[in-house]
Symmetry: C2
Subunit: 269 residues, 2 copies
């Protein structure tokens, strides 16, 4: 089958701590798998999909749980929406990585007791470093995506998405292209990197210790490791029709009207 895509999780990656050598640990685990299954050895065109959590851990992004709120504040560019619930307040924020997510991505699951974990400071830079080192170590033409789990409006739950990338064509831009009948395509930009992140989550799994997956069969997407990173996938600022939660935007409109009228009154006086 020409258009076959295969994904599998890498077994045997240990719990990662500050300063661990991810390249050595990932390639070591792959070598161990390949010892009993030669197909598991990396090949040209393979794409590695790496959970951001292990990147954060290796990069030392742990903070004491008591400093969690401060870290959220530091990683927040602006608050998009807030909602109080039984467990506290959920803050949806824009992070400095260009992501919109709850609690700026601060996470306490799969993290040692007493600690919370921030996102990698610059996931694209982390991806470039990892991809470059793994290419050098293996001699193979590889791509690499760093993923995190994002909620989304209008649908329940979360899916994985690409927050860092190197050596992978991120989108299939069909704008200006034609369909099988030669007519213009109205669907425009397929985000392959997010689809790959989602696909890999199906074999990684969150409750197990399987933070890295390999995707084989999309070698045509593997490009120069200095290619644009996942930060280019953000659509914020002017183009963002959902810059604020509905409650927050309503409040801003209400308050603007009140201010206008107060100013008018002042003038009449």
């Amino acid at each position: 089958m020409a258009n076959r895509l295969t994904l599998w999780g890498i077994e045997g990656i240990p719990e990662i701590g500050r300063g661990d050598d991810l390249v050595a640990l990932i390639s070591g685990a792959i070598d161990a798998m390949a010892a009993s299954d030669p197909d598991a050895a990396l090949a040209d065109g393979d794409i590695l999909i790496v959970t951001s959590k292990i990147v954060s851990k290796a990069e030392g992004m742990q903070v004491p749980i008591a400093a969690r709120e401060l870290a959220i504040e530091e990683d927040t560019v602006r608050i998009v929406a807030e909602r109080a619930h039984a467990g506290g307040i959920t803050k949806i924020v824009e992070t400095r990585q260009g992501l919109v997510m709850a609690a700026a991505g601060l996470d306490t699951s799969n993290v040692p007791d007493g600690l919370a974990l921030r996102l990698p400071r610059d996931p694209d830079a982390s991806a470039r470093a990892l991809c470059g080192a793994l290419r050098e170590k293996t001699g193979k033409r590889l791509g690499l995506i760093i993923t995190d789990t994002l909620g989304r409006p209008w649908r329940v739950g979360q899916t994985d998405a690409a927050i860092g990338a190197a050596g992978v064509q991120l989108v299939d831009d069909l704008r200006g292209g034609v369909d099988a009948n030669g007519r213009p395509l109205s669907v425009t930009v397929t985000v392959l990197a997010d689809e790959l992140a989602a696909a890999a989550d199906l074999v990684k799994g969150k409750a197990s210790r399987m933070p890295v997956a390999v995707a084989r069969g999309l070698g045509k997407l593997v490009i120069d490791p200095e290619s644009p990173g996942a930060k280019t996938l953000a659509r914020l600022g002017e183009d963002d029709m959902f810059r604020f939660g509905s409650t927050e935007a309503y409040k801003r409109g209400y308050e603007a009207a009140m201010r206008e009228l107060a100013a008018k009154k002042e003038k009449v006086k």
Copy 2:
């Protein structure tokens, strides 16, 4: 490799028209592939991922292009956000299928000249019918997902998501679960059905005629075909923090303040 997921597109499905027998056409194309590659025959635990477009076509959801606006109106429960641009007005709406998407999913790409295509009226019912018939025809325990392409706030482009489903466990609900260290998981509900839809898009492709893919390796997710459908993935109403676009919500707040003040004035008189 125990946790291996393989996906491939089904070749040889012809252009679909009103009334065509999708079950016969899909199983015929699979049989033709299996003739030269026995691995391509359906097996217990396989999940079929079907682009909604061919379901709509078979169900006769074509409308003349002149009736496009009327069809959008009919398929719209409420308008979420609007934005004028060079090509016209983009309307993001909530559809009667419980989706939030541009133009209520009305599409003109990969559709014969002069026609536009609506979404299947009830994608979960379509999925149940297709899944049931394919199970009966093949004697295999299959799952089936119907997909469409959705934009999303805060990120560029689109990814495929599940709009109809039968016989597939849609989510992995980790709430109350624990991580590899025995601590509570903060990520709660992984939406496997959307991750599968996204994964399948990587082998289907929009510009080619490959509207059906098979996913093999997630047989543990294949369940009773009368299981809950994809409509359960909608998070609308009270739980929706992005019920309106920021501009629309701002305007509502502004106008509410103006109305309040007008009412006060009226009282003073």
